[in-house]
């Protein structure tokens, strides 16, 4: 699954003990966004920049650029739909869940 892991995986003597992961934030190296059945689609023209999606996203997958919501990180988004559920914009939400295309 690891995009960057091309070399042979480490043997049991080299792996940190206890399943402990001593490298903070290393999920950035992995594409863990392969589970979705629905994906969030963000509409810039409707977004009010309230950040509710960014606050609520459990996978830090709301992209922020220069202090503003700028889209979705599909390499880490699991498609849970929380961002779309909390989006307060009416009549049409700024994030909608759309079926993933295979």
């Amino acid at each position: 699954m690891a995009k960057t892991e091309k070399t042979k995986a480490p043997g049991w003597r080299e792996v940190p003990i206890g399943g402990v992961n001593p490298e903070a934030g290393n999920a950035v190296k992995y594409n863990s966004g392969t589970w979705r059945t629905f994906k969030p689609v963000w509409f810039n023209d409707r977004c009010t920049q309230c950040y509710l999606c960014w606050i609520n996203c459990p996978d830090v997958s709301i992209l922020i650029k220069e202090g503003k919501v700028a889209g979705i990180d599909y390499e880490h988004c699991k498609g849970c739909g929380i961002c779309a559920a909390v989006c307060p914009v009416k009549p049409k939400k700024a994030i909608e869940m759309v079926k993933e295309e295979k």
Partner: protein
């Protein structure tokens, strides 16, 4: 180090050891026959003698879970339980070992339900024998105290980092008062030392994740590491015992022979039954019967080589199991002793399942075993491989 002769129950001895260890966190739930241990320990905390954070939980599953959390946070952690309590902890026991958390737990051995029973046997401990916990076994209150103090050092050694169970027989040891020595706080404090965790959740400079999902590409390696730590713990157990014996004068080994060197027949046992058997052996020796005992103090890691070496000169051996494996080849201790002797010795080895649910194991029962062994030694013939000793026909 100054010592004092005191009369304590096994549970009081364990509570006193825990007081001197002064763990950062103890999460426990009361269960007979462990209850008076935790009552005594909680009293020390309530009286302000020590500053342990006692976490009162609603079940043993939560007790061990709280221990795992506290230990992952870098604390020195202890708990204690018996029987059903351990059964309820079971899945978290594997997690404690799997995360390499050096939790130390007195286990006051009691039969498992059902039918419900509160008295001693070893079914609880045998249920977690493969969970990655080191297992020490005590014969009396003194060994409960001594083993617990050593257990902390063994568990927390950087080459080990595995949890440790200190077993002792429910009621027989836990509630009987014996004379024993305790040592001064300062000396024990120095012996026990400070726990320096390898990884901790409360170190913001070195953030870590515990309990991540371990898929087929890494789980096997982590399990292999536990086996390696078990192997390496043997040297630590020996070193810690040697250091401790300099303080207390008592020798601690993986196994202990009693009148075994020149014996022709011997029994192998865990726990308080060894004490009873000593009396029988002394009587038999006076009658000229060359009887001996092999006591197993360390059951995990299993001291295969030492056991084989200490038994191979005998003419017949009986392994006493206070737990039944219900139609395996025999009880759990028997299976492993026989495996240890395989291709090293062809002496006849028989098995006795005894004392389930606190059934008394008296001098008569042990004499019966030695009489059987004398017959086997003479004829080389085994009538019954596994005998249920003391059950009513």
């Amino acid at each position: 180090m100054s010592k004092k002769l005191v009369a304590l129950t096994g549970n009081d001895a364990a509570a006193y050891a825990m007081k001197q260890i002064n763990p950062d966190v103890v999460a426990a739930y009361p269960i007979t026959p462990q209850t008076s241990l935790m009552e005594k320990f909680a009293q020390y905390v309530a009286d302000g003698e020590i500053d342990t954070e006692v976490v009162l939980v609603e079940s043993e599953h939560s007790a061990m879970s709280a221990c795992v959390g506290a230990s992952a946070a870098g604390a020195r952690v202890m708990t204690a339980t018996s029987s059903q309590g351990l059964a309820l902890m079971w899945e978290i026991c594997y997690i404690a070992a799997g995360y390499r958390l050096p939790i130390v737990m007195p286990l006051v051995n009691r039969a498992l339900s059902g039918p419900i029973n509160i008295h001693c046997d070893h079914s609880d401990a045998m249920g977690v024998r493969d969970s990655g916990w080191i297992q020490l076994w005590a014969e009396n209150a003194q060994e409960v105290y001594d083993n617990l103090l050593q257990a902390i050092r063994i568990a927390e050694d950087p080459s080990v980092l595995l949890p440790v169970i200190v077993n002792y027989d429910g009621f027989i040891i836990s509630h009987a008062i014996e004379n024993m020595h305790i040592y001064d706080d300062a000396g024990i404090n120095k012996f026990v030392g400070e726990y320096k965790p390898k990884y901790t959740l409360l170190d913001p400079a070195n953030p870590t994740t515990f309990g991540g999902f371990d898929l087929p590409d890494y789980y096997f390696e982590h399990r292999r590491q536990i086996a390696d730590a078990m192997t390496k713990s043997a040297k630590v157990i020996a070193d810690v015992a040697e250091e401790f014996s300099k303080i207390c004068g008592r020798e601690y080994k993986f196994i202990e022979g009693y009148r075994l060197e020149d014996a022709e027949i011997a029994i192998v046992a865990l726990g308080s039954t060894v004490g009873t058997a000593r009396a029988v052996v002394d009587e038999l020796r006076e009658k000229g019967v060359k009887a001996g005992i092999l006591k197993i103090r360390v059951f995990r890691p299993f001291p295969e080589g030492e056991i084989a070496d200490s038994l191979k000169h005998l003419k017949a051996v009986a392994v006493l199991d206070r737990a039944d494996a219900l139609n395996a080849v025999g009880g759990p201790l028997f299976d492993e002793i026989r495996a240890a002797l395989y291709r090293k010795s062809d002496i006849p080895v028989v098995n006795y399942i005894y004392g389930l649910g606190g059934r008394d194991m008296g001098l008569g029962e042990i004499n019966h075993v030695y009489a059987d062994l004398a017959g086997i030694a003479k004829t080389g013939k085994i009538k019954e491989l596994t005998t249920y000793l003391g059950v009513r026909e």
